[in-house]
Subunit: 185 residues, 2 copies
């Protein structure tokens, strides 16, 4: 555990290692980031997603969703995304700003084939997610490849806050090649 | 632990009990909700906050912050707030939409007096939070009552998703007196 950061590159690499762990470690907080969009009526919309892929060099993340979910509708209108992860053990907050891309169909066949059969029912709920139903279980969950959607999250900014012995905060931006700068926490 | 919900009122009350626990239990996920705003440049902004108060009957929450923080600037422009809490043990996701009120000065003296002396340094950082600094510890943390700010979060909607034996999702709205309706999850 780091008690304090005094090196910008070290802090950036440390955060990425924690994020990447979320792809394989179901107990990592990075497994379940909070995914924020601007709602269609100007209300912030936040929900849990499952992290499927993370790449420091390309500075992107991937999550899967149902193409009929509300968040896809919101992203078509405004592709900006906020991602939030709090690592309690490491006392590190990761805040990401990104621009999303929606991918469906033939471009995501490979990813679909890796989704376990039992998990494929997350893509295809009838009626579509968020529809009012009369009883709690008045829905079906067929697996539908046509509803499988990959959201590619192209990162623009990473804002890190570490609550160590003393607090440190640093901002890393794509436009300055992630070299980073310290901020007052 | 609930395996499944089939009663709207029971699910609503259950979620509120978990939320309220966050006021006193530092290990509860409700202690540290994610607080979402629409950023000034149209980018969703998410960060951790500490829950200070929660009231089911009045349907509101309270958090404290530095009045010079970016989130206050954002809320002055657009008071809409999204709150997100994921309770991993209970497999319950709480998504809240709310309208915020900013309170400072004589109206929050009582709350300020309850803030432990050691915690008051969260209100007064110089330079103000988010300012670029040349070295990681080039800041001071005096305690300043003038910078202490209470954000009152007046809830409009609560959207609950429970990943039980079967999934259930329900939406509760102030305008329908929180009676709730089931949604396809």
């Amino acid at each position: 555990m780091k008690t304090e950061f005094a090196d910008l590159k070290e802090m950036h690499d440390y955060a990425w290692r924690l994020i990447i762990r979320g792809i394989v470690d179901k107990k990592s907080p990075a497994r379940h980031p909070t995914f924020g969009t601007n709602g269609l009526l100007g209300m912030p919309e936040l929900r849990t997603v499952v992290l499927r892929y993370a790449d420091q060099k390309a500075a992107n993340l991937e999550v899967h969703t149902d193409v009929e979910s509300k968040k896809v509708e919101e992203l078509k209108f405004n592709p900006n995304v906020g991602i939030h992860i709090w690592f309690p053990t490491n006392k590190l907050q990761v805040r990401i700003k990104a621009i999303s891309e929606i991918k469906i169909g033939s471009g995501v066949t490979e990813q679909w084939e890796k989704v376990p059969t039992g998990s494929r029912v997350s893509y295809g709920t009838l009626p579509t997610p968020g529809t009012v139903i009369q009883t709690p279980f008045a829905y079906e969950k067929p697996a539908e490849f046509e509803r499988f959607c990959l959201i590619k999250i192209n990162i623009e900014e990473i804002d890190l806050t570490h609550l160590g012995t003393r607090h440190t905060r640093a901002l890393y931006e794509k436009k300055t090649k992630w070299c980073g700068s310290w901020l007052a926490p």
